[in-house]
Amino acid sequence: MPFEFSNEEQDLFLKVKSGDKTAYRALFDRYYKYLVVTANNILGDSEMARDLAQDVFFELWKRRESIEVQTSLKAYLRRSVVNKTLNFIKSRRMDFTEPERMPESPYPTPDAQTLLEASDLEQVIHQAIAALPERCRLIFTLCRLEGMPHKEIAAQLDISTKTIEAQMTRAIAALREAVGPYVAPALLAWFVSGNFY
């Protein structure tokens, strides 16, 4: 079966289609925050992310009678908010080729304490992503989180795939630098040997 619709989700959506505001509110409670988080992960601007997520819900209501959802409603909404985000980025006519300043060596060398908290490594990466320069971060999150092919991003934003590759390389280089101290052989050896003195 090609449908991933959960029954509950499908029921709610069918009710919305017939004009049921309570069901609409239930879908809002279910997915609004999810959409804001999705847009904010790309944009790093939570106010704008809220506007875009509301636009998606506004159109869901306005076009409820004609919307046909092929996969899951959740996937449809996510795709909608990503498209809105892309349109918004495009409308700002950013110059993706212009050099941006990378954060200045923002990643402190970890001390023994932080090394012991190994789960922090994920934290470190997430902070590093959040600290990427705007355009670099946009491209990175679209590629990595939305899994969009470079070609598609290029077409949507009217930029070249070369520019996207360059921004991706910059992003990965910055993230590598962030994890560097945690994935270094010297430190690993020290850590594994239990040589604490």
Binding site: R25, F28, D29, Y32, K33, V36, V37, N40, N41, G44, S46, A49, R50, Q54, F57, F58, E59, W61, K62, R63, E65, S66, L121, E122, I125, H126, A128, I129, A130, F140, T141, C143, R144, L145, H150, A155, E165, M168, T169, I172, A173, L175, R176, A178, V179, G180, Y182, V183, A184, P185
Partner: protein, 335 residues
């Protein structure tokens, strides 16, 4: 040092877009040193952990929902626009023919019933507040007293639209599937661009103004056509059977949509005429001495009152508001 190149290759490898040639370049580099292998390890680690990236946001869902409800209430209170989805046309003759062919030609039958559903959108006294978004991502802003029939599925070798009245189009690029706007008097074909089409019901002229890209205009039943470039306007006059191109000069044809009016040494009376059309109001010049005063000014996304106040200042005149729909310019002098 060409570390960046290899980081780029490592990234491609992680996202499964590495070509065989790149693959061997990367393998050679990895064999060169333990340092290189460490870089690869760090990149892989960073890549893997970045997939779970998510930032929490603080939000007040109740307040946001209220905002959304107000917006919906406003949109629904606007009587200007009405969306109707039309059922596919199935006239009895076609069905009868299909039934007749039922046994002999199932393929033909399918053809009859799979005619794409057309969407329909119409406005009455004021322009639509929001664009109609088409299945291919194109957008159409419909002016007052206009109607539109459009495709709702992204398939077929053409993107076909029917228009009565006036609309501004922003067409998603797709050279393989031309976007064709048919009006009473002719056809406008594009591949991806933005432009304004005006052919009011019952009118004998079709007017097309191009904002970006390249547009082809072809009157109905004619082999003659025009190619228009940005800022050019093509006008077909049915009475004179003439097809002419004007332009090179920015004009205010699409102002109803763009909310941008450009005036370059334009007489006040002409400026007020355009404003009155755009906002549906009556604007009267009391002092005929200022009627020919030339104005050079750009108004962008300004409300009517702000615009009139600017004019009042430019002329040193007084603005009198008789009612919501009736303003008078009193006194003043040129420059």
């Amino acid at each position: 040092m060409n570390e960046e190149l290899y980081i780029s290759l490592l990234q491609k490898q992680l996202s499964d877009t590495l070509s065989p040639a790149e693959q061997s370049t990367l393998e050679d580099w990895l064999e060169q040193s333990a340092d290189n292998q460490l870089i690869a390890k760090q990149v892989a680690q960073a890549w893997q952990l970045s997939g779970g990236f998510s930032q929490d946001v603080d939000l007040d869902a109740d307040a946001d929902f209220e905002r959304l409800e107000r917006r919906i209430a406003e949109a629904e209170a606007t009587p200007a626009a009405k969306v109707v989805t039309m059922k596919p046309k199935r006239n009895w003759l076609a069905i009868a023919a299909a039934i007749a062919l039922l046994v002999a030609a199932p393929l033909v039958l399918r053809k009859f019933f799979s005619s794409p559903e057309m969407g329909q959108f119409a406005t009455t006294d004021s322009p639509a507040l929001h664009p109609v978004e088409l299945a291919d991502g194109s957008k159409v802003w419909l002016n007052a007293h206009s109607s539109l029939q459009f495709f709702t599925k992204n398939e077929g070798d053409k993107r076909e639209i029917k228009l009565t009245g006036e609309a501004f189009f922003e067409v998603a690029k797709n050279p393989e599937r031309p976007f064709v706007v048919t009006t009473e008097l002719g056809q406008v074909t594009v591949l991806g661009t933005s432009f304004n089409v005006r052919n009011p019901a019952g009118s004998t002229s079709l007017e097309v103004n191009v904002s970006t890209g390249k547009v082809k205009v072809q009157p109905k039943g004619s082999s003659e056509h025009l190619l228009l470039l940005p800022n050019e306007t093509g006008i077909f006059d049915q009475n004179k059977n003439s097809l002419v191109k004007t332009g090179g000069v920015a004009n205010n044809t699409a102002a109803w949509h763009t909310e941008k009016l450009v005036f370059d040494n334009t007489p006040l009376e002409e400026v007020l005429h355009q404003l009155s059309l755009l906002h549906g109001v009556t604007l009267t010049i009391e002092n005929q001495a200022v009627a020919r005063c030339p104005l050079t000014v750009v108004f962008e996304k300004q409300g009517l009152e702000a615009t009139l106040e600017t004019i009042q200042t430019l002329l040193g005149a007084e603005l009198v508001k008789v009612s919501e729909k009736d303003y008078r310019i009193r006194g003043g002098r040129c420059g």
